[in-house]
Symmetry: C2
Subunit: 344 residues, 2 copies
């Protein structure tokens, strides 16, 4: 017997907005007008600059409902934006959610997506203050705009690196790419929480589905003026190195032996006959931070590192006056491949 | 001979971003970080609140490339957001552009879209400070977030109407719906500028393709505290009346004889055997403002009306304590139909 699954088209736009409003916690007092008017109205932060970013997840490009659970879609859409705020040194403040929904989208998928988004929003102290819901005649699209605040002298740009600065990365890389491949091969994980997936790839799957934006680290780096530049790894490690180098008018030497490839990712890539380092460098959606540290700040950075326990900060290379971006490995030196770009 | 048309996939994401950057005028001095970093950074407005809104245009839902020229797609995507700012009484400030592009989208379409958007942005004094470009395996999507500023006591909510307040609408309604139908029937207008379409429907086509958000009016209404509530007509006149009534906990009586249906729209609907008033009330995307004015402010409103020459402000009804929203016409009184909602 086929019991029809309720879809978003069954309940309609207004009821969908109402479902979101019901789940949104009480607004902070700086939200003057929240969900439900022509626009949201916010009290500006005190003595801070406004940071604003937007990022979209498109079904069939950034995720596949066959192997990404609804909660993870909502989580990842917000995480991508929070990671951009982290990379600027900003504290999250408000988010707008713009959805384009296929008629046949199950209501349960909609609810799961909102739950995943609101869980991360609550933990990250960002208020969902507005948005838009439209129909999509094609894929599901989740477009989020996030705003935050940052002190005037605490903005982390990508353009401030200087020759001789050491290059650091937070955490370990490759898990998102390996987790994606695991999910693509195995289908929807048996559980939808952060312990989804099988050992030894459980961490990789969890970090692909529920990446943790490095908000505390980014904020600390900006507040302590410990770094000269910073980007997140949304389009992959290799891309991030190129971004900092190009924005700063410099080159870089990356030491392959120092790059922290996550153990699960290493295992997965090796098992599939691939070079773990190259796969991890190319893979996108590791929401770690890459940043440059001048020599005089190394001791400060070590002190800061102790304030983000469980998140290693690893020195992986150096910025150079010569403009080439190279990977040094096993005594050889090669151009570092470009990162991920859409339409390439 | 088939000369292949260059597509967005031919040039790639970074070149597309570069094409936008080249056309964006110099940033105002309150833009601390513009296009090209993880996020944009802005100096907050002085002694003002921040207003933020997002709105998306989805191909096949909000427009069809068969009869909407690229410039108009870009213009309309921004206009929808500016209209939301106008309805809050805000001055535009910064915009973020999030695009999901089909691989086969001609580069010329991309450029036209950006040109249309940037033309309206320049006239409206809103700075394009960032965004995102992704692939779409389905339709073209243009999602814009716009921010603005408004004085603390000058916010135009939809919830402030009181029983006895007069209901006013700016301009004339029905042109967007009639223009859409004309374009759907006739295909892409011969010219792509605001004089596209044939007489007597030229105005309707122009207002469908290039709607003019009522920024000056909205800002004046807020600044002079002339109104108790305000919304824009993005989802149609009937919807707007329901929105103000419902948010204010009131009813409304709309006088059908007073509703300013645009002449071209009236002509078009009559020619196609439809009731012009009902078609105009139901049609979306007339970016006019609907607002409520208490008796003591009528003279002030008349003075303000002289400061928006060419834009009539018409009294169309009254807010009532009784919660029904009714249309009075030819001595009869009927429930006003609900407006447009997605998935309905």
């Amino acid at each position: 017997m086929n019991v029809p699954v309720p879809t978003v088209a069954d309940v309609g736009e207004r009821a969908l907005v109402a479902r979101i409003r019901e789940r949104v916690p009480a607004f902070p007092d700086w939200v003057t007008v929240g969900i439900g008017d022509d626009a949201a109205v916010l009290e500006p932060g005190r003595n801070t600059l406004e940071v604003i970013t937007t990022d979209a997840l498109v079904e069939g490009v950034h995720f596949d409902r066959a192997f990404v659970p609804p909660r993870a879609i909502g989580h990842r859409a917000l995480a991508a934006n929070l990671s951009d705020l982290a990379a600027m040194g900003a504290r999250p403040r408000a988010a707008l959610l713009s959805l384009a929904l296929p008629d046949a989208l199950p209501l349960e998928t909609f609810d799961g997506l909102i739950d995943g988004l609101l869980d991360l929003a609550a933990r990250s102290r960002i208020a969902l203050v507005g948005g838009n819901i439209a129909r999509s005649p094609g894929p599901l699209m989740v477009d989020i705009t996030a705003t935050g605040t940052v002190g005037r002298r605490q903005v982390l740009r990508r353009s401030g690196a200087r020759a001789g600065d050491a290059m650091y990365v937070s955490g370990a890389i490759g898990d998102a790419a390996a987790g994606l491949e695991w999910c693509r091969a195995h289908g929807l994980p048996a559980t939808t929480g952060p312990d989804a997936g099988d050992e030894p790839f459980r961490d990789a799957v969890a970090r692909f589905l529920y990446p943790e934006p490095r908000l505390r680290l980014g904020w600390m780096l900006g507040r302590n003026r410990a770094v000269t530049s910073c980007v997140d790894l949304s389009d992959g490690f290799a891309d991030a190195v190129h971004q900092i180098a190009s924005a700063s008018g410099l080159g870089a030497i990356l030491d392959g032996a120092l790059v922290p490839v996550a153990p699960g990712a290493r295992h997965w890539f090796e098992r599939n006959g691939r070079d773990p380092l190259m796969a991890a460098l190319a893979g996108g959606e590791d929401y770690e931070l890459l940043f440059t540290v001048p020599a005089r700040r190394h001791r400060l950075l070590q002190a800061l590192a102790r304030r983000v326990p469980g998140l290693p900060l690893t020195r992986v290379g150096v910025m150079t006056r010569e403009c080439a971006v190279v990977l040094r490995r096993d005594g050889r030196q090669d151009d570092l491949p470009a990162g991920f770009a859409h339409f390439r």
